[in-house]
Symmetry: C2
Subunit: 183 residues, 2 copies
């Protein structure tokens, strides 16, 4: 593997409420130079979590939620940004309570995912939540989210619905199955 | 499921070489209104492909590539945007020739992934490439990409390297395994 390229210059070229676009001038170890643009994290130091809530070893709780990026409802795993000062586990449990109506006694960090590593700085922490108990927290959702229990042994059936398209949810579900095999 | 929310107003609030940030005023079927920001597709009408190149039924060809978003090398599947007028299959075969040094006689559309559906409009088409033959096309890569053959039966070993973090690559590899079981 080559040495990691050097950042010659980093500039913020646009900022909005949620996003910050950076320009990076990069020099590779062979002397080649390129300019890249990337979307920088909106909450510096913070991050995002995606939760795999397991009601039992074969039942995962999905939510059906409006997704403005693709402007349609998407069936997938609950997720959200960490609030200031929150650990990933605290954020996962809060999102679970807000979006699914459960808390978890058992939280396990499964993986750290990049999303589009060539142009997004963002990472998402994948947390498996087990030993659930009912607890509802009010979130900032504009409407009640529909909770959809699904059999983990039927991921292929979920994909066939066409409603679950998010790579993070799909990867996390397959990895959760692998994880449970080892328990 | 509720009716899809209505877009009351859509505005471009920032534009750069690669990105366009949109503001969406959305009204839900219960009357609630919210403002969302999303990153719109940079190449309208176009898209992106991610290729699963199979040298044989248990060997996938990965590449190790500098990823500016996360500023490090990432081990994953070859990918890229479609050029104007290109089909997804044409784009997949071109990216394969540029990044891996193979063409494919057999291309199959496996899935359409969203990446971060709450704030990205982008979708990625996942293409399985089989019946490969050596053919190298010059791309615009700043350095030669390292091609890394990996056993499909050892995805867990790949994840354990910590070098393969991209949710799209991980989800596509697991789905490729499921697809091959059905052949």
């Amino acid at each position: 593997m080559s040495n990691t390229p050097i950042i010659l210059k980093k500039t913020t070229i646009a900022t909005s409420r949620l996003f910050r676009i950076e320009s990076l001038d990069i020099e590779f170890s062979n002397g080649e130079q390129r300019n890249y643009e990337r979307l920088a994290r909106g909450n510096p130091g913070g991050g995002a979590v995606l939760v795999v809530p397991l009601l039992d070893d074969d039942t995962v709780l999905l939510i059906r939620e409006y997704s403005a990026g693709v402007h349609r409802y998407e069936l997938g795993l609950p997720k959200g940004k960490t609030d200031a000062g929150e650990s990933f586990f605290e954020a996962a449990n809060r999102e679970l309570k807000e979006e699914v109506g459960y808390g978890a006694n058992n939280l396990h960090h499964l993986a750290s995912f990049s999303i589009a590593p060539s142009y997004l700085e963002h990472m998402t922490e994948i947390i498996i939540a087990r030993d659930l108990y009912p607890e509802k927290l009010d979130g900032d959702e504009p409407e009640e989210l529909e909770v959809v229990p699904w059999q983990l042994s039927n991921i292929n059936g979920l994909l066939a619905t066409g409603e679950c398209t998010e790579a993070r949810s799909i990867a996390a579900l397959f990895m959760a199955v692998e994880h449970l095999k080892k328990l």
